[in-house]
């Protein structure tokens, strides 16, 4: 498929091994890491997937970590110049949990502080879509998706606030999961919108995503929003079909680009043939998810960013990117006493409305299916207005606002489908995604 064409481009053979083969052994991982580092050396100058590379030798499954997640002793810039020399003094909980089996190959680029949907706006260079280098890779966890698609790494930890794991997965042809809010600890993840931020696994296939997820879940005293869950191996029973026993809801009234709409219709037909019971509902009030999110995020982000005043951390605020500054200023404005009722309270209310609407839908269905992105990746030179870019979150946003798990799987070149599941039902969600995976 299209991943093969990426590989053809990099002239690396046999590098895109399935996650299952890698996990089940038989591959010399030390040699593989050396090989992957050579690919990084060759491609990174053009694609800007990585910000830092692990110089220490090591063995294990190669894991890329988004640069807004702390890895002790490595730089954690959050892709922003304000933290260009900041070295994390501690491990994020997810990193600590992955250390035994995985080798952290490097820290990947993204939109600064996760503030972006294009994935191309890192302060350290333009990250490009490897399938079509003139296009955006999708964001914000763009570096991970690019690295996976080109074989620079085999597994990745991204972060997803409103689509940041799923959007780049869809645009670059890999798999990304946003877990239920509270399933995976956020300790060590730099803030964007704390009430929605999650850490999510990315890989080239559903098996790979299920594999990483098995390591990173669980209650963490260092993150009060985590929930006690029983540890489970999400790869177990992954191949058992589930779609024929499932109800899947799709939306009327979602505006999609023609190519995306076509891919979506074919996919609905395909899962219907696999035996799924398709149900259609109006998108209706769920459309408020996007404006609601941006108001909430501006507010929480402006609070979180207060610490970067040039005293304790990093550089002066002047070096922050335009989008980051825009969000801080808007957030500061709408949390002022005189505007709070008009904007911030409105957003909190909007969140309740969307949650209620989705909970009604989820009571009657097993999954929701949408395209991951309503559009194809846009051209790097197309300057989208902030609102146009924000609107590209229309499909990835609503599950995030309601704390639901959602996965993106590739179906066509630069197009992914999103499957949304019930809270803490990642196992069923992964099974359904596995069955849909080609």
């Amino acid at each position: 498929m299209f991943l093969r064409s990426v590989v053809g481009m990099s002239k690396q053979e046999n590098i895109l091994i399935s996650s299952k083969d890698l996990v089940q052994g038989g591959v010399n991982l030390e040699k593989r890491i050396e090989k992957q580092k050579r690919i990084i050396n060759k491609l990174n100058r053009r694609l800007h997937a990585f910000i830092s590379i692990n110089e220490e030798k090591g063995e294990g499954l190669s894991l890329a970590v988004k640069d807004n997640i702390c890895v002790k002793g490595m730089r954690a810039t959050s892709s922003s110049k304000i933290l260009k020399d900041y070295v994390a003094p501690y491990d994020a909980t997810v990193v600590r949990k992955c250390r035994d089996l995985f080798y952290i190959i490097g820290k990947t680029a993204h939109d600064p502080f996760g503030a972006g949907s294009s994935g191309s706006t890192s302060d350290f260079g333009v990250t490009r879509n490897p399938i079509d280098e003139s296009r955006v890779p999708g964001g914000s966890s763009s570096g991970n998706a690019v690295a996976l698609a080109t074989g620079m790494c085999d597994f990745a930890l991204g972060t997803d606030t409103f689509g940041s794991v799923r959007a780049p997965a869809a645009f670059c042809g890999v798999v990304g999961l946003r877990p239920t809010y509270g399933l995976v600890s956020r300790y060590g993840l730099m803030d964007l919108c704390m009430s929605l931020d999650t850490i999510g696994p990315m890989a080239r296939d559903v098996y790979g995503v299920a594999y990483i997820l098995s390591f990173i879940t669980g209650l963490d005293p260092r993150d009060c929003t985590t929930v006690k869950t029983t540890k489970c191996d999400y790869t177990k029973g992954l191949d058992e079909p589930i779609l024929s026993k499932s109800t899947i809801t799709i939306f009327r009234g979602l505006e999609l680009q023609a190519e995306v709409e076509d891919a979506f219709e074919k996919e609905v037909e395909r899962i219907s043939n696999l035996g799924a019971d398709i149900r259609e509902v109006n998108f209706g009030k769920i459309k408020y998810a996007v404006p609601t999110y941006y108001l909430l995020m501006f507010s929480e982000f402006s609070s979180a960013m207060q610490k970067f005043d040039g005293v304790l951390f990093g550089e002066k605020r002047a070096v922050l990117s335009e989008e980051v500054k825009r969000r801080i200023l808007l957030g500061t404005y709408i949390t002022l006493k005189e505007h709070k009722d008009k904007w911030y309270s409105l957003a909190l209310n909007g969140k309740r409305v969307v949650e209620k609407e989705l909970s009604k839908i989820m009571n009657k269905t097993d999954f929701i299916l949408t395209p991951t992105m309503p559009v194809l990746p846009w051209k790097l030179e197309d300057e989208l207005s902030p609102v146009e870019e924000y609107m590209s979150d229309i499909c990835t946003g609503f599950p995030a606002l309601a704390g639901l798990p959602a996965i993106s799987i590739p179906v066509r070149k630069m197009i992914g489908m999103q499957l949304v599941g019930k809270k803490f039902q990642e196992h069923s969600l992964l099974r359904a995604a596995k069955e849909m995976e080609k």
């Binding site: 807004n68 997640i69 702390c70 060590g188 803030d191 009060c224 929003t225 402006s302 207060q306 610490k307």
Partner: protein
């Protein structure tokens, strides 16, 4: 004249409000971690429940109405001692109380900031995240003296309740009729009185000259006793409060805390026993001490017990620089000791010795009965080894007798009554007198 107070009380916890760093004194920036230094990505741990329990005791003892759910808010402002540039502070958990005739507006808990030294340009974050409660009164006080008395009583109440670390930081506001002036960060109760007295003088002078008193925040300089303008308040500060998304609300309805008998009631009971105000104050420094007193005075005269606690027990505690809440002693042991002493089975000196052994957790040394001959021998030893003091005594400095008695008692392990030593010592000293 209207005076209001905002009293910050340090809570008595082992660890900080949102992380497990200790709250003890230490070298600068040693009791710190990613959470209390605001490292990017670090999240607060769950609210320290020991701090919450102490806070609830305070709210209840101030006769407040307790609320059910408490939200942690972020209060945003920029200051170098505040790593996140926001302070976590709870929504009020107790409202509408009353203490000493002063209305309590609300009580909430919060985390402290670090220490910033603008002259040395250093920041010490050991204090960052240390748990506090803030008690906000209505502007019901009419004089600096009344404010001081309120604070002294409050300190006494907290001591009685065994909560807090006895350390205060106070902000006060005062209005002589027109604009309200706020004085920030006063570190002692006496400082509050001085600052308010200075402010009254300053504002009266302005008003007498028909000048306007500006609405402003002032800083109190402890060394000069004066207040200086910090910032003028053209508009009310906007802290952009939002609920902290990293912390779920705390449900305080289900938390049970132990509250001893109300202090006022206990004081009345003690006065009813004929005790003086001073004694009453000593006996209520700690509710466990009060309970000890009542249990002892069931079998012994209250005045005798009160005297012993005030002089002997408190003296020994004071000598060790500790308070009653720091020691674990058995009430039965003390009851036995006091009964024995009261009934003349042991001397006052021996009782003292036994008490010391209890406080220091030492095995009790076997009591010896000492002959007169032995006492005289020790007295001679003391005289021999202190020729200077003896000489001075003989020249008329009679107060040195106490010193020599003390030395003798020490060498005899306090097993003899001082009275007996005095008689024998005087006798001995006579023989040294020059003809």
């Amino acid at each position: 004249m209207k005076i209001g107070l905002e009293v910050h009380v340090y809570l008595n916890t082992k660890s900080k409000m949102y992380c497990s760093c200790p709250v003890t004194e230490a070298l600068p920036n040693t009791n710190i971690c990613p959470v209390c230094t605001g490292q990017p990505g670090a999240k607060p741990m769950a609210t320290n429940m020991k701090a919450v329990e102490e806070a609830l005791i305070i709210g209840k003892a101030l006769n407040c109405k307790m609320l059910d759910r408490v939200t942690t808010m972020r209060k945003h402002y920029f200051y170098p001692d505040l790593p996140n540039n926001y302070q976590r502070t709870s929504s009020p958990f107790a409202v509408g109380g009353e203490f000493m005739g002063i209305r309590i507006r609300e009580v909430h808990w919060e985390e402290d900031a670090g220490r910033y030294d603008p002259k040395k340009k250093t920041i010490d974050l050991n204090r960052s995240g240390v748990p506090l409660v803030e008690i906000v009164t209505e502007p019901d006080m009419k004089s600096p003296k009344q404010a001081k008395e309120f604070l002294l009583e409050l300190r006494h109440l907290l001591s009685y309740l065994r909560v807090g670390r006895g350390i205060f930081k106070v902000d006060t506001n005062i209005s002589l009729g027109s604009e309200r002036v706020e004085i920030k960060n006063i570190n002692s109760i006496k400082g509050v009185e001085t600052a308010l007295a200075y402010e009254i003088k300053r504002q009266t002078k302005l008003l007498n000259q028909s000048k306007k008193v500006k609405r402003e925040t002032r800083h109190f300089d402890e060394t000069t006793g004066k207040t200086v303008s910090l910032r003028e308040k053209e508009t009310v500060e906007d802290y952009r409060f939002i609920a902290d998304p990293d912390l779920p609300p705390v449900d305080i309805k289900e938390i049970r805390v132990y509250l001893p008998k109300p202090l006022e009631e206990v004081k009345k009971n003690l006065e009813g026993l004929g005790l003086k105000k001073e004694e009453t104050n000593v006996l209520t420094t700690d509710w466990k001490l009060t309970e000890l007193f009542f249990s002892l005075s069931k079998k012994l005269p209250p005045q005798f017990v009160a005297n012993w606690i005030k002089t002997e027990l408190m003296g020994e505690l004071h000598y060790r620089s500790i308070s009653f809440s720091d020691v674990e002693i058995s009430a039965n042991g003390i009851a036995q000791l006091l009964a024995d002493m009261y009934h003349g089975k042991i001397t006052r000196a021996i009782a003292k010795r036994k008490l010391r052994a209890m406080l220091d957790n030492k095995q009790e040394i076997e009591m010896r009965s000492i002959s007169k001959k032995e006492v005289t021998r020790v007295i001679r030893e003391v005289i021999e080894s202190h020729p200077k003091e003896v000489k001075k005594y003989l020249k008329g400095k009679t107060q040195l007798l106490n010193f020599l008695v003390g030395e003798t008692l020490k060498r005899l392990d306090y097993c003899v009554e001082p009275k007996e030593v005095i008689v024998l010592l005087k006798n001995e000293l006579e023989s040294y007198k020059l003809p």
